[in-house]
Structures are given as C-alpha cells and as structure tokens.
C-alpha cells in the first residue's frame, strides 16, 4: 500500500499536542490580559469640551472636592457642577479666557456643557456615593490622585472583582471620616483602625450579595 500522507505528517499530532496547550494558554492570557478592565478601561482619558484642570483647581488652589461635587454626601451621584458654580469665581477671574467660552455661554443661555463621562458603570450596576463616603472611603481610593490630573482619567478598573475585593475586606481602604476628601492622605503614615474610631457610629459591613449592587 503506498503511503497517502508523507512521513513528516507523523509529527503533526506531536506538534498539536505541544502547541495546543500553548495556544490555549495564550488565549487565556489574551482574554485575561486584554479583555480585563485593567487593560480596556484604566487610563481612559477622554478630552473634555472645556479644558478644566483638576490639578490646578483641586491640587494647586486646594479646592475641596465637595465645592463642586456637592451632592456626593447625600446622593448616589456626585453631580457634575452646574455652570453657575464655575461662574462663582469666573465672574471675576479669567473673564476673557477663550478656554472658558463654553462655560460662559452655558451660563448665559442655560444650555448644559456636554461633559464626557469618565467613570462609567454598566446600567445594571448601581453605585451610591453617599454610602461609600459615610463608610469612610476616600475619593482618592477609587478615583486616584485627581488633584494631580490635568485631564481626568480612570485610574482603577471599576470591575466587579475590584469592587468585591474591597467589599470583602474594606478595612485597608477606610480612613477617618474627616479625611475623605484629603487626596494626600497616606494610610502607611497614619495607621488607622476604623473599629477604634469613636467618631464612627456603625461598623462598616458592605454587601457582597447580588442585590447589594444589582437591582
């Protein structure tokens, strides 16, 4: 009987046997790495219609986060400030600046400035700022050093695994309730045990069950 396949084909099964696990491992790695929010979302830095610099306002000038995001302690949303908040200062400061044209126009016409959302959760996940602030999670814990960002970008993946890491063990991310908006607060420099904090009225007990966040 003449050989139908050439002799080298005998090596094919061995090659497949060796390469398939590698390819499988490669695929798993690819999905684990490139499909993860650490890769897809972290570093998302859309250009905003007004080149507002958090580094200047929150960092150099030292504005408290809550001067603009003033509903953060009371509501689910931290509320992007209305143009009138900008105009509190910019009525007097930089009144001619071209970069502020859109804000002035918005203040005059009543039309909103179309800010671009940076931290975007899926519609089936319900996040509440006020609950996290009341628990003593600092702004910087999730948003990073916004006070050093000229253009705001996403620093944390905001993935479910990342949320759950903290929900299962919140202690390392809790800080004194008066340090929440302090961007530079360093947990290593000032050790803190929330269980011994007399200012806390209840023990933090974050939900890890589904309806805690999905409704």
């Amino acid at each position: 009987v003449p050989a139908i396949f050439p002799r080298w084909t005998n090596n094919v099964p061995i090659a497949i046997g060796l390469l398939a696990p590698l390819a499988g491992a490669g695929l798993i790695f690819a999905i684990w790495y490139w499909f993860s929010p650490w890769y897809t979302d972290v570093g998302y830095r859309p250009e905003q219609p007004v080149p507002y610099s958090h580094a200047l306002h929150a960092g150099d000038l030292g504005l408290d986060c809550r001067y603009c995001h003033n509903t953060v302690e009371r509501a689910a949303m931290a509320a992007i400030p209305p143009s009138s908040t900008c105009m509190n200062c910019h009525d007097l400061v930089k009144t001619e600046s071209k970069r502020l044209d859109l804000v002035r126009e918005s203040d005059k016409t009543g039309m909103p400035v179309p800010w671009v959302r940076v931290h975007q959760l899926p519609d089936y996940a319900f996040f509440n700022h006020s609950a996290h602030l009341a628990a003593g999670v600092g702004c910087a814990s999730c948003h990073g050093r916004v006070d050093q960002m000229v253009i705001v970008e996403m620093e944390k993946p905001m993935s479910m695994a990342w949320c759950l890491d903290c929900h299962r063990d919140p202690k390392p991310n809790l800080r004194p309730l008066d340090q929440i908006t302090n961007m530079g607060w360093n947990p290593e420099a000032t050790p803190y045990d929330p269980d011994r904090d007399p200012h806390r009225r209840r023990k933090v007990n974050p939900p890890t069950h589904c309806s805690g966040c999905h409704r």
Binding site: P82, S84, M111, R117, F126, R202, P207, S211, G212
Partner: protein
C-alpha cells in the same frame, strides 16, 4: 388510573380545570407552551411585537446583519455625556427623586396623588396620604395614567382638514400651525359671539374643576345661547338624580363605610368600579381586619347580575338579573317596614302602597335574613345600603329610604358638620355619625345629555361644536346616530364653510377624525388645574413636567374659547383662587395648598341639603322586568368607560373576575351558554331594538341565569393599542334604556381567540397515580364560627407534620441584621389589580401584546389568582382572590437548579435575581412551585409600534423610555425576572439609614410598590426579625399560613387565611342547598 374529576369539589380556577380528570391533568400539565404554533396566533396583531412572517431568508439576513453590527460594536464603549444644569434649581439633587402633590379625576372620582419625579420626569404615581379620597393609596387607573403621558400614540400637533394644501394624499387631515389655528378659531368665536352664541355647543366630560366651572360661566356670559352637553359614563347620574329629587338641585349623596356593621350592595361594585372606590375600599376593609376569632367584623350582602370584585368579597351573594335588583330592594323595604319599632321611615312616609314583587325562594331567604340583620339592635345606625350606579334613580331613592329608616342618615348631625367652614375642603365630617351623607354642589354646570345633542344636531340647532376630551362619535348610543350627525357638521364639508367641529383630546379618536380641527391637549401631569371631589375635597393639580408636545390644557383652551385670549393655566388658576379665597388668599397659603395638594381653610357654599321629598321616592317606582335574555352592560374594571383603552398596561391587565386580557367578551353563566349552545370563544350576535353587535362568549361562574354581561369602552379604533381590542357595544345601547336591555342572542358561527390568563401559572400540578392528596393549602378560608371553634385551623391543612419536613441540603445562611418578609391578608384583598399595575410601573415591566399573552408569556411579576369553589359552576359558593408574587423562599427551589448562579440568596432573605448573569435556561421557572418567574422571550422593552404619520420618531421608544424607573434595570430578551420585594426601595432606605449612622431601617420606612398602592392595606412588608414590626405582628395571627408549606420552601411571603362572616341562619339554608346540588351533580 383515575378518571375521577380532580377539582370538582375543591377550588378551581376555570371551568375547564374543574372538569379535568386526574389523568388528563397529568398529561396536560406543563408550564411553557411547546414550539411556536402559527395557528395559535390570533388573526390580528394587537400589541407591540410581530413574530410571525419570519422566513428562513429573513432569518439569515437578520442574523448576518446582527453579527456585522456586533463586530462593529467591538470598539470602546460609547462616549456618554453628562449634561448638568446651567443653574441647578434649589433642592434638586440629580438622581434623587422628588414627590409633588397633584390629583387625578375620572368621572366624579378624584384621587389626591403624590407623583415621583426623577430628574424632572414623572415616573411613578402614589396616593397622597393627606387626601381623604386616596389616603396614600391609589386606584389601578390612577397608577396607569403615567403611561398615557408618554404614550407615543398621543397627538402632538394640531391637525386640520380646512387647508387642502396641508393635507397629504390619502389623508383627511394635515398638520396645522398653532398660531394660524388660534387666529382662525378666534375669528370664528368672535363671529359666533355676535349672534350671542347661537348654534354653539360644547361637549365636555364631568367638570369637577372650580376654575373650569368659572370659565364655563364666563363662556355662557359671552355666548348666552351656547349649550353644554356632558358625555361621561362614569358620573353617577342616577344617584345624583335621586339625591336631587330628595333634597333639591345640587344635592349629592355618598356613603362613608368605616363605622358599618352590615353593608348591602345592590348591584354596586363599590369596592372597585363605582365612584370613590379607593376611599370605600379603605373604609370597608377596616371593618374586616380581624386578628382574633372574637374580634368585630362587618358583614357584606350582595345581589348582582354578574360577578364583581364586591361580589367576590360577599358573605352572602345572590345572582339576580340587573332589571330585578329593584325588586329585591322593594322586598327588603317591605320586610323592614313590617317591624315598625326598629324601622322608622322618614316622617310622613307611607309605605303601605309598595308593590309586592315575587322573588325566587333563595332570594327571599336572603332578603329575610338581611332584614333581620339590619334590624338587629347592635347594628342600629351602623349599616349602609349601597345601590349601584346602573340601577335607575328610584332604586337609589328606596336605598335612601332604607338608610334613613335604619338611622344611617343622620341629617341633623350632618347638617351641623356641613355648616362648619372646616368641613369644606380637606376636612370631611368625622365619620361615625351615619353612613349616608348629603352635601350641596351648588356650582354644578347645567348640562344636557348626548340624546339632547343628537336632537339638536338633527334639528340643525347646533352648527359649531367643540368636543373637549370627549368622543361622542364613539360613545353615543346606537339610536342617536351621532357619528353620522357629527360627520355632517364636520368632515363632510372639509372647508368648514358653514359648520365647525373642533375636537380637543389626547388621541386622534373617532370624533377627531370627523372634526375640522383636532387640537392636542396636555395630560393632567403637564397642566395646572384644580378638582373638587364628590365629597367637597378641593385639590390643586400641579404639573410635573412642561408639556412634552405642543399642547394646551383644557383649562387654557376653555379660557381661550371663553375670552378669546390664550392665557397660561397657572395665571388662570391662581387668578381664580385669588378671587375665590378672597381674604384667605396669600402666597403662603397658596404654597401650602400646592405642597399639600389640597385647598384648606376656604369656606365655600355653606348650607346643607334638607331631604324632604320622601313620598316622591315611592311615587317614582317603575319596575321594568326583563324576560328572556338580559343584556347587562357595565363599566369595565380595566379601561372603565373606554377612556383608558389606549393604555397598554390596562389593556394587558387580566380582568379581575374573568382574567381576560386585551378584550371584552360576552360573559354568561355556564348554564346559559349551554342553553344557547355556545362555548368559550364562540361569536354570537346580540340584537337589541333591531341593531346588533357580534361578540365572543366567555363563561364566567356567578353570572345570573339569562344574563349576557358586556363591558363598555372597547372596540375603539383611535390608536394601534386600542384597535382590535374587544367589541364596541355602543351600537346596541339606546338612550331609551339604561344599562339593561332585552336582547336576542344567536350563534354567529365563527370563533374568536381570547387571551385569558386564568389557567396560567397553576399551582396545582397533577397528583400522580398512587399518590393522591386532599386539597393542598393554597387558598384557605373558613367562616367566623369555624374559626372560633378551631382557631388553629391553618395548621391542620398541611399534608405533613412539621417534623417530617427535611431539607436535602442546608438552606442559605441568613446573617443579615434585618430579614425581610411580607404578609398578605386575604380577608381584605378584593382583587382590584392596583398592585399589579403599581408593580409594573415601579419595576419597568413591559407589556407583550395579546398574541404573546395567548402563548402565556405575559410579564407581570404579580398576578391575582382567582379561585371558585362549589358544586354548581353557575353559582359558586365561594370566590377567593390571592395575589401571587415571588414568595422569597428561604429554601428556594429555583436557586438550586440555576447552572450559572444567576439567582442566589441574600443574607437578608431575599431571593436575588441577577439579570446580567442569567443565560435563560428557564430551569428556575420550571422548578418554581408558585409559578412566579417570568421570561423575556422577546425584547419587549425596546420594541415600538408603528406610528401615525404626524409623529416624527418612528417607534416612540424615547418617549416610553422616560417612564422607566432609573433605579431598576431594564431587562433584555433571554433573561428571567421576578418580584424582588422592590429591592431598590430596600437599598435606598438602607443606605439612608447607614448614612445617618443607623444599622437598621425603621419599621414602615420601606414600602413595596404593591403595599403602598393597596387601598385596603392588605399587604404588609417589613423586618420579620423585629418582633414589634407590623409584619411580625401580622404573621403572629392564628390565620397566618404558608402556601404549599409541605414543599418545605419556607416562603417569606405568607398569607392570612380568609374569614367569611356569614349570617348563621342563612348559611345553614345555603349549606343545605349546596349539599342538594352536590348530590344531584354526582
């Protein structure tokens, strides 16, 4: 093998189920329809989704396009903008809902509301706790009105036939400009004013708005010869006529029930479709909430031609033809008059001349028992005779005579209370001084009827007609021929050269199509207004949102017609109240009224009616017994008189008794159907006075023999939602008779598919061979005496001892500090469906259309099961309704079968459903013994409907989107869903408590949507770990039981068994009769 009928002597949900043998039941029992049978599809597509017509080619084309789209979406998630206010209004926190008080009116009923506004969009309606007509609850209709606001089928621009250039080809009307329309109409009205309004007519609904009444008075001053007609089937015309006969023009009678011991409803569905049902339900249910077996409980007697929600709750019920209800009332009066010591007729009334109608023995027994109950000394002055609106005025008058004779009409006390300035407005006279109240409504608009309109149109007396939110071309009775007459003054001459027909309304309905101008109107959530309830409570309506479309409110348009000037509604309203309240008016008061939703402290129309024309009551008796088949028309418990026929929520709502959706049908008793030779779905021709309609038959136990009961309001053609739903009964209505007519019924030969949900989700899987069991504990009821004799009866129905119930594996750990649970009281649940719609509004539940309901794919998270019991299918001895929703089992069967853990347990005892994990295997639903899970077979939430030509957007999806609750995920195709105990509300209150530094949420802070809306407070929700919570207290009642406890699922929702309170003497007679029937049937 068992051929014994499985349900016959037990509770049954449908006549079909009642006839099933054990074997048939075992063969047929399945939850999901198998395959897609095109033959099962109805001949027309009434709803959102067309699934038929998908060919192989089309499928591949769509699949290809879908995969192409899917790849094109493989980019970063879309950019989302945040659009903050330029200047944020004070107190507004983005994302936090706010509540505003307003009020809704339908017919004479007014309900005070608090509407939830989500960033400026009204999304959910709740009752105003301060308003005496809603007490924090609402009716099913008030709940559903929010959908009308966003209805994509609403008219958005004025349409006219007068300018041929604007009219597109093949159409009769074109889009008009408001400016030009206003100018033309102004000129027209100026011209009519010169002749003093000669030939001008106005067709309105019942006007309950003081401002609108003032505008009508203004209009009459400008056009002295103008005529006003009222077209409103929800107005209690007969009760008004009776009260006016008795006590003079403007007198109004109504009942207060919270201090009653015996209630007799003579064809009165006071618990649902009659006016002010929310208040009456609340008051009546307070007399039925018993805890211990010796607590006080009222008794309800009902006679009616067709089963209603009130009939369901009756302790004693008799099926009587609608035309014979008057006879029962006469017989009752005769029986009472025999006891001269306890029954004191009003002064000067001689009862000897009463006719002596002959009643069937069972009915006579009923009347005798009722009379002795009413005369009992402990019930003195504590009873109420409620006569239904369909009964002629003389029956109402007799009802008043009985009430007065029994001391229920405390004229003196009431007059005092009415004189008190505080009694007008919010502060109703304190109850307890008599169940029947009279008051004066002195500013009522003098109006004529549609019959007068027809006559005037025929005689050429009306040349210019304005229809304000009315649709006389549809609702006019058949003998009036209004459609033709309106066409003659309307579209017959499209130029409107001699006559004019103007229609103002939310939808382009039958009349709008005949009119020269169709003007869109603002929804009540978009308009300023005020309303006066039947009992005199005044409410301010404030808008929740600017008009979505280019519309004016009815008040604004009335002002425009009256003065020729278009003034905004706010100025009109405030202007009126500045004058009306005079010295009491201040900005501070005004703001208080807006805040509370009620006008208080303004004395209006003091003076009380003096009932004195008693003898007329007897003189007006006019019995009209109907031999043979009686056509019995009624207001529909879903769409009322047809004003909600455009509302998909209400269309898809199962009828409280028949469980039919998307249709009305000719309801008959099974024996009547057998006599006529028809079965469910057969079309019959119903003829009255030579006119006829064709309707489908549906057998409903509890309908009187020889009665064909049909709901009005269906068969409209205005919108895609209304089109094809049900049959229009107006052609056989006549201005000569009221709601009952002698009719001929003949088989028409064809059949019609009816989407009925009564057999869906049955909790009675068949008992297999060798394992037969008694009645499973699903609904439980006992009489009061049985309850007294055996307070622990709920424990005895369980199939197994508690100790024998074992778990296969450990149930989830319940470590939460609070454990949520619910208790539902079957004693007070009347099955009004308000909870079903509240749940739909709160939880973004879509409607699916009739075709999908036929496939058992309706999406309601909550259904009301209705069970009959008794040997006679015509006359069930008992009817029980049971709200069925996710029972939140602690040992949930659904959780153990989910392959992807999409349904898991929360430490607080909730059975969580995670939509983003669900892959749609439907195992959970299959394993759910309560059948409360719902599967999205199609993308019901995103499908729109084809739209009329004037609507800019094709599918209107952006409008419907605005109604969605942002706190609840909108589910997509392929996902299972179910009741979550309104987990979004739980979380909101929990977070509020946590932010305030509290661990626990106070009892009563969290209300589920169904609980909040319930007029009879049948649903209680809360923390079962807290022994002092309301729900824990409810669950400690000896009546508390778990449905299907023997399955050991440990449901968190438990029920309080129903206790009936029959008259012992009558109950014995009834039991004997039932036993005789059972032997005859066996």
């Amino acid at each position: 093998m068992s051929t014994e009928r499985i349900y016959a002597s037990r509770y049954w949900q449908s006549l079909r189920q009642r006839e099933l043998t054990h074997d048939e039941a075992a063969d047929e029992w399945r939850e999901f329809e198998e395959g897609v049978d095109p033959a099962a599809a109805p001949p027309r597509d009434p709803g959102f989704v067309a699934t038929t017509g998908l060919t192989r080619r089309k499928f591949f084309a769509t699949a290809g396009a879908a995969s192409a789209l899917a790849t094109s979406a493989c980019v970063r998630k879309p950019v989302e903008n945040i659009l903050p206010f330029s200047e944020r209004p004070e107190d507004l926190i983005p994302g936090k809902p706010m509540g505003y008080a307003t009020a809704v009116q339908y017919g004479t009923t007014v309900e005070g509301l608090v509407v939830e506004s989500q960033d400026g969009r009204p999304t959910k309606i709740e009752g105003n706790p301060k308003h005496p007509n809603s007490n924090g609850a609402t009716s099913v209709w008030a709940q559903a009105t929010v959908l009308d606001l966003y209805d994509p089928e609403r008219t958005r621009v004025p349409l006219t036939s007068t300018d041929a250039e604007l009219v597109p080809e093949g159409e009769t009307h074109g889009i008009a400009e408001w400016g030009k329309t206003r100018d033309t109409l102004k000129k027209l009205f100026d011209r009519i004013a010169k002749s003093g309004g000669d030939g001008l007519g106005l067709v309105t609904r019942w006007i309950a708005s003081p401002t609108q009444r003032a505008k009508i008075a203004e209009l009459r001053a400008r056009f002295p010869k103008a005529r006003v007609f009222v077209d409103d089937a929800l107005v209690p015309w007969n009760s008004i006529a009776a009260a006016e006969t008795l006590a003079g023009k403007g007198a109004r009678a109504y009942h207060v029930l919270d201090k009653t011991a015996v209630v007799f409803a003579a064809d009165s569905d006071f618990l649902h479709t009659e006016p002010d049902s929310v208040r009456l339900q609340r008051e009546w249910s307070k007399t039925r909430k018993i805890v211990g077996s010796t607590d006080f409980m009222s008794r309800l007697y009902v006679v009616e031609p067709a089963l209603s929600n009130t009939g369901i709750m009756a302790d004693h019920r008799r099926r009587v033809k609608g035309s014979a209800v008057g006879d029962v009332v006469i017989a009752l009066l005769n029986a009472l008059a025999a006891d001269a010591t306890n029954f004191v007729p009003p002064t000067g009334l001689d009862l000897s001349g009463l006719p002596k109608p002959k009643l069937a023995p069972a009915v006579q027994q009923f009347v005798d028992a009722l009379a002795s109950d009413l005369l009992a000394s402990e019930n003195k002055g504590r009873s109420a005779i409620l006569v239904g609106e369909r009964q002629p005025a003389w029956v109402h008058l007799l009802g008043f005579v009985i009430d007065a004779g029994l001391g229920n009409l405390k004229a003196g006390a009431m007059v005092e209370a009415e004189r008190d300035p505080k009694s007008i407005g919010a502060d109703r006279p304190t109850p307890g001084s008599g169940s029947l109240r009279l008051r004066f409504d002195s500013r009522v608009v003098e109006a004529e009827t549609l019959a007068d309109l027809s006559k005037a149109l025929g005689g050429g007396e009306i040349k210019h007609l304005v229809c304000l939110e009315t649709n006389p071309a549809y609702s006019g009775a058949g003998d009036l021929d209004l459609a033709k007459k309106l066409e003659a003054i309307g579209i017959a001459d499209p130029k409107a050269s001699k006559t004019t027909l103007v229609h103002v309304g939310l939808w382009r309905d039958e009349t709008a199509r005949l009119a020269h101008w169709h003007l869109p109107v603002s929804h009540f959530l978009e308009a300023w207004g005020d309303v006066e309830a039947f009992d005199g409570t005044l409410s301010i309506q404030q808008p929740l949102i600017e008009p979505l479309h280019d519309t004016y409110s009815v008040t604004e348009l009335l002002g425009f017609f009256a003065s020729g000037k278009m003034i905004d509604g706010y100025s009109l309203l405030k202007g009126f109240w500045t004058g009306e309240a005079a010295a009491q008016f201040s900005d501070r008061n005004w703001r208080q009224w807006l805040h509370d939703g009620m006008v208080t402290g303004v004395p209006r129309d003091p003076g009380a009616p003096a009932p004195n024309a008693w003898q007329q009551a007897l003189g007006s008796i006019e019995r009209k017994p109907i031999e043979g088949i009686e056509l019995d028309l009624h207001v529909d418990p879903r769409v009322l008189d047809g004003r909600f026929v455009h509302n998909a929520w209400l269309q898809e709502l199962p009828h409280p008794v028949s469980k039919v959706t998307w249709d009305n049908a000719a309801y008959v008793a099974p024996s009547t159907a057998a006599e006529l030779g028809v079965v469910d779905g057969d079309l019959v021709t119903i003829g009255v006075e030579g006119r006829s309609i064709t309707a489908a038959i549906w057998q409903v136990p509890g309908t009187a023999d020889g009665v064909v009961s049909l709901a009005i309001g269906y068969g409209q053609t205005a919108t895609p939602t209304a089109t094809g739903a049900g049959v229009d009964v107006n052609p056989v209505r006549s201005s000569k008779y009221g709601w009952f007519a002698q009719a001929s019924v003949a088989k028409a030969g064809d059949t019609y598919p009816i989407a009925c949900t009564q057999d869906y989700g049955s909790m009675k899987p068949p008992s297999y061979v060798g394992f037969d069991f008694d009645e499973r504990p699903i609904v439980l009821e006992k009489t009061r005496d049985e309850f007294k004799a055996d307070p622990n009866f709920v424990e005895k129905v369980n199939l197994m001892e508690r100790s024998r119930l074992q778990h296969l594996w450990d149930p989830p750990k319940l470590t939460g500090k609070q454990q949520w649970g619910m208790s539902i009281d079957l004693n007070t649940c009347v099955g009004c469906n308000a909870c079903v719609i509240a749940c739909q509004a709160e939880n973004n539940i879509p409607t699916v259309g009739k075709e999908q309901v036929l496939r058992a794919r309706e999406m309601h998270w909550m259904r009301i099961d209705r069970y009959f019991k008794g040997a006679d299918p015509d006359d069930p001895t008992s009817v029980v309704v049971q709200p069925m929703l996710c029972q939140q089992c602690e040992a949930a069967p659904c959780e153990t079968v989910c392959p992807v853990a999409a349904t898991t347990h929360s430490p607080e005892g909730l059975n969580d459903m995670v939509y983003n994990r669900c892959i749609g295997t439907r195992y959970c639903s299959n394993n759910c013994p309560y059948k409360v899970r719902r599967f999205n077979y199609l993308a019901y939430n995103t499908k729109g409907r084809p739209q009329p030509f004037w609507n800019e957007d094709i599918d209107g999806a952006w409008l419907l989107q605005m109604q969605k609750n942002p706190d609840v995920t909108v589910r997509f195709r392929g996902v299972m869903e179910k009741c979550t105990y309104c987990v979004q509300r739980i979380q909101e209150k929990k977070i509020e408590a946590h932010v305030a530094g509290r661990d626990l949420v106070e009892d009563g802070k969290i209300q589920t949507a169904c609980q909040q809306v319930c007029p009879s407070e049948a649903i209680v929700f809360g923390d079962i770990r807290d022994p002092d919570s309301k729900v824990s207290k409810a669950k400690r009642s000896p009546r508390d039981y778990q449905v299907l406890r023997d399955l050991n699922t440990h449901p968190r929702t438990t029920y309080l068994a129903r206790i009936k309170n029959p008259n012992p003497a009558l109950a014995k007679l009834e039991a004997d009769a039932e036993a005789a029937k059972a032997t005859k049937g066996a």
